[in-house]
């Protein structure tokens, strides 16, 4: 440790600070120059991730230690929230980035306004809330820089600057404010061609993130290893002090942990500056991949030494407890190196704090000024007809001036807020208040990208209610605590209504103010958003935007403008419009780019197609916001008389027509499908009809044949009384046989029809197949004997019961046996009946030694009216229905029937029937 006590004259500090700021300018200038040359410096995932670390402000740099002294690990949720959001980055942030790029979104206000039907009202509301909510946060940065400067100037004195000398503090803060305004104007609004990207600024911010991290780590390392002998020594000494050791337990962090994680989780997308660097300034969606882990890693590193510094400060620095003047925990980062007389580290710490503060202020004011310009001032100016804004040729200058004015005003108000409120409030609390305001945007953003039915009125209601409750439960009490409002407002509620006490609304007590406010405001915000959406109806433009946002990954290029605009606007008119906002040079570039992309020549008198209109609208949106860009583009159609409202109406009607025609198309598809189905059914019916026709024709044929014989012989007998008795007997026998044949045929036709149409009445019982075969054999015994055909039956002793209709099974067996008999030659004919038992079924076989069945007929014989003709005579041997009926019976019982045969070597018919289930 340095033993000499030196002074740090203020001019040295100022010089160092100015050098630092000059360096920033150089980086920013270089970044812009590279961007213009097309060799972007910031098109780099590391720089992107570092720029997001603008999240760590002076509040982090000084305030984290302060918060750690109060509540131990209580400082961590503010960094866990963003870590969580970035862990979900692929889901949430990537979608927001994709949407914003596609629609050239310029700010969080623009995003919400664009999603909910390009609503000016919503954009304006978000802007106002952002300005009001973030104001304390900006003044916090001013305070941090001013305080740290005043503190450092007093070196080696460690006591805090006298509160009794506000003029001095005020002077410093005023200077700081002025310089900050200058930086912001120079960083954010230097260019004539204002676009949504500020590459120089991003480069400078990334550099600042490095500086503040290095500074904080330097202080931390010095404190831990320079002033103590490492972590062990430091924590050991802290544990020895009961008042300090309690900080190292989770209890001190308290139950506010989870609410604060949620708060930071939501705020990291709702804070205007985070939206600016994460979404608007993003040059490549892929960069997110690195930021997802690098940004959380940054947060981890910058928090590594928070607790050691807090503990060391409490151990080493006068806390006021011993009677001496206390050192504020918010200045430990600076006070510790000063106490150890390390001027260099103290100055480095000051620079770190300065970079944290300047980074935040620059990005925040640029983001806010863009919002004020695009979503608040321009819409109002366009409405004021007396300004003749619509006729001004070049508005880009005006835009920049509005933004510059907005920056000055924002910082001005920030300064006054600081003067009025700042002294009474700790750094840590002010940051949380701003977070709670920014968190009100998150429901509308998240619902906006995942829930198509969230409506404009619902978003308005949700955000408004959330903001009102935030104002009542956080902003007004802060006024009361600063003496602007009577203190009784906080303690007893307005007019003594305790139910309305701002820190214990509706009797919800026991929470810290911020979680309390967060609970009620989000409850009302989300509640209103959901409830109103459920009962609301979206206008068409809302529905279109909602679809474009929610389904952003499904579409390549949203094409809303196309279709209704193309007939009414000329390229020249669009060019004139673009020139007014982008300037002539930039407009030339834009139109050339468009023409080159599509390999076409643009002539001023050409009709602009929907693509070009959209292209120009997006470019304008990048400058003046989506809502204003739409109105401006719409105003170019059909001259002056064609107002935005009418355009909206046309769009509305067009999309209704589109919707209608889409429905018609769908209906006609359905109709086509139904027609096709009908056709198929019809074809099937025609087939069935033809089959029925064939069947009838065949049946008639089969009936006519025996009828012919019967009629002929009857007539012969009738007309020939002189026939001898033998002949008479013969003819009568023929008549009887043919009558029997006719009867059999009719019965078979009826049976088959019944089986096929499912009208057969099956008497299902457990059947013993042995008994069935015995029965069939007995019935046919005489026939076999007559023709002297041997019939051999070989059955196992025990056959498992099968499930079936006994009579039908007998019929089936008789059919097969009589078929076999029919085809066997008399005298030497031989028929064998067998039965085999398999796993789950019984197989019955009937083999004959007849002529056999040719291979090509072995399938066909089971079809109706397929007749096998006798080999010798060529005569049909049966009705052609017997086997078809057999197949019908077997298949109904769940079995199969088939034949195996080699022509000349007989045929064997098999059928199976499954066992009855036990």
């Amino acid at each position: 440790m340095s033993g000499t006590v030196a002074h740090l004259p203020s001019w040295i500090i100022i010089a160092v600070a100015l050098c630092y700021v000059s360096l920033l300018f150089a980086i920013a200038y270089y970044g812009d120059k590279r961007a213009r040359a097309g060799r972007s410096l910031v098109a780099n995932p590391t720089i992107y991730a570092l720029s997001i670390a603008v999240y760590c402000t002076a509040w982090t740099f000084y305030g984290s230690v302060g918060r750690a002294v109060e509540s131990g690990f209580g400082f961590l949720p503010i960094y866990l929230g963003p870590t969580l959001m970035f862990a979900l980055g692929w889901l949430v942030l990537r979608k927001i980035i994709r949407i914003s790029k596609l629609h050239r979104i310029t700010s969080i206000a623009d995003f919400i306004s664009s999603r909910y039907g390009k609503s000016h009202l919503l954009g304006g509301l978000v802007t106002i809330i952002a300005v009001v909510g973030i104001m304390p946060y900006i003044s916090l940065q001013l305070k941090a820089v001013a305080t740290s400067f005043d503190y450092l100037v007093k070196y080696p004195d460690l006591t805090p600057p006298a509160v009794a000398a506000p003029a001095v503090v005020g002077d410093t803060a005023l200077w700081v404010t002025g310089l900050m305004a200058l930086f912001s104007i120079l960083f954010g609004t230097r260019h004539i061609d204002a676009t949504e990207h500020h590459q120089g600024m991003v480069a400078a911010i990334a550099f600042e993130s490095v500086v503040k991290l290095v500074a904080f780590l330097a202080v931390g390392l010095f404190v831990t290893f320079g002033m103590f002998d490492g972590f062990g020594d430091l924590f050991g000494q802290a544990l020895a002090r009961p008042d300090i050791s309690s900080l190292m337990t989770m209890e001190s962090a308290g139950r506010d942990w989870m609410p604060l994680v949620l708060l930071a989780f939501l705020a990291v997308i709702g804070l205007p500056r985070q939206f600016q660097v994460t979404v608007v300034e993003n040059t490549d969606e892929q960069h997110l991949n690195k930021a997802i882990w690098l940004f959380p890693l940054y947060l981890l590193l910058i928090n590594l030494f928070v607790l050691p510094i807090a503990l060391a400060g409490m151990l080493v620095l006068p806390t006021g407890a011993a009677g001496g003047p206390a050192v504020s925990p918010d200045t430990f980062v600076l006070a510790l190196p000063m106490a150890a007389h390390q001027e260099e580290i103290a100055v480095l710490a000051f620079l770190g704090g300065l970079s944290a503060a300047t980074g935040m202020v620059i990005v925040e004011t640029i983001a806010l000024s863009t919002m004020i310009c695009n979503d608040l001032v321009m819409p109002i100016l366009f409405k004021c007809a007396w300004l003749h804004l619509g006729e001004r040729r070049d508005l880009s200058k005006l835009l920049l001036n509005i933004r510059r004015g907005a920056i000055v005003i924002i910082l001005g108000i920030g300064y006054f807020y600081f003067r009025l409120i700042g002294e009474s409030y700790a750094l840590a609390s002010i940051g949380l208040v701003a977070f709670a305001a920014a968190a009100q945007f998150a429901p509308a953003v998240l619902a906006g990208i995942y829930w198509k039915h969230a409506t404009r009125r619902a978003a308005l209601a949700g955000i408004s209610l959330g903001f009102v409750i935030w104002t009542y439960t956080l902003l007004l009490p802060s006024f009361a605590l600063s003496g602007w409002l009577p203190h009784s407002f906080v303690d007893h509620g307005p007019f003594g209504w305790e139910l309305l006490m701002p820190y214990a609304l509706f009797g919800l007590s026991g929470f810290d103010p911020v979680p309390h406010s967060l609970f009620w405001s989000l409850f009302a915000n989300v509640g209103a958003l959901v409830m109103v959406s459920l009962f609301d109806r979206q206008a068409t433009i809302e529905r279109i935007q909602a679809t474009l946002f929610v389904e952003v990954f499904r579409q390549q290029r949203p094409n809303v403008a196309a279709g209704y605009l193309q007939e009414t606007v000329q390229v020249g008119a669009l060019r004139t419009l673009a020139e007014r906002f982008l300037g002539r040079e930039r407009t030339d570039e834009v139109f050339t780019e468009y023409a080159q992309q599509r390999r076409m020549l643009l002539d001023a008198n050409m009709r602009a197609d929907g693509d070009l209109v959209q292209f120009v609208e997006r470019r304008l949106a990048g400058v003046i916001g989506a809502a204003s860009a739409r109105v401006m583009v719409a105003s170019t159609f059909k001259g002056q008389g064609f107002g935005a409202e009418e355009i909206m109406q046309i769009l509305d009607e067009t999309s209704q027509v589109l919707e209608y025609s889409r429905q018609l198309e769908q209906k006609s598809h359905e109709l086509e499908r139904a027609t096709a189905e009908l056709k198929a059914v019809n074809a099937r019916l025609t087939d069935l009809d033809r089959m029925k026709d064939d069947f009838l024709s065949t049946v008639t044929h089969e009936l006519r044949t025996p009828l012919t014989s019967i009629r002929s012989f009857s007539e012969i007998l009738h007309d020939s009384p002189d026939l001898d008795i033998g002949e008479r007997q013969h003819f009568l026998t023929i008549i009887i046989r043919e009558s029997e044949r006719l009867t059999r045929l009719i019965n078979q036709v009826l049976d088959l029809t019944k089986i096929e149409t499912g009208r057969m009445k099956w008497q299902m019982t457990d059947v013993d197949l042995r008994e069935v075969i015995d029965h069939a054999v007995t019935a046919l015994h005489q026939l076999f004997d007559e023709r002297r055909i041997a019939l051999e039956v070989q059955l196992p002793e025990l056959v498992p019961a099968i499930r079936g209709d006994r009579d039908q099974l007998i019929q089936l067996t008789i059919n097969l046996l009589s078929n076999a008999q029919k085809f066997c030659p008399p005298d030497v004919g031989r028929v064998e009946v067998g039965l085999r038992i398999a796993d789950h079924e019984v197989t019955v076989s009937v083999a004959d030694n007849g002529p056999g069945i040719p291979l090509n007929e072995q399938e066909a014989i089971f079809e109706k009216f397929h007749q096998v003709r006798s080999g010798q005579t060529g005569n049909p041997m049966g009705s052609g229905l017997g086997l078809a009926i057999c197949r019908g019976i077997v298949e109904h019982l769940g079995g199969r029937i088939w034949v195996r045969s080699r022509p000349g070597h007989g045929a064997t018919f098999f059928f199976t029937v499954p066992f009855a289930k036990a």
């Binding site: 009629r711 002929s712 005579t873």
Partner: protein, 124 residues
């Protein structure tokens, strides 16, 4: 010399009845049980009249009719088709292929005998 008739039919009982009727009417009757048999019978000796069943094995009635008509030597052979198929198309097809008449089963024996008698008597 009696007129000759060729009966082409595969149902034995119908053959029997036709044979009985035609013999009784005094005609010379030959029998063929399928298309090929029928054509060889015609070739052996052309009959005056053929009673031709349509549904016969090997070559069907239409085929036989067409083959007979294709030979000018047999242009005077009278062909009566017998069929159990009563549809108009079947009749038209037979006539178109050169049959002289078409009788649907079951036929009246009396009518058929009369018809055959008339035709054969008219020939002489």
């Amino acid at each position: 010399m009696p007129k000759s008739i060729l009966v082409v039919e595969d149902e034995p009982n119908i053959v029997l009845s036709l044979q009985f009727l035609m013999k009784k009417a005094g005609f010379d009757v030959r029998i063929a049980r399928d298309g090929e048999e029928a054509l060889s019978a015609v070739e052996a000796r052309a009959p005056d009249l053929i009673l031709l069943d349509v549904m016969i094995p090997k070559r069907d009635g239409y085929d036989v009719c067409q083959t007979v008509r294709a030979n000018p030597d047999w242009k005077n052979v009278y062909i009566i088709m017998l069929t159990a198929k009563g549809r108009d198309v079947d009749r038209e097809k037979g006539i178109a292929l050169g049959a002289n008449d078409y009788v649907t089963k079951p036929f009246s024996t009396r009518d058929l005998t009369e018809k055959v008698k008339q035709i054969l008597d008219g020939m002489s």
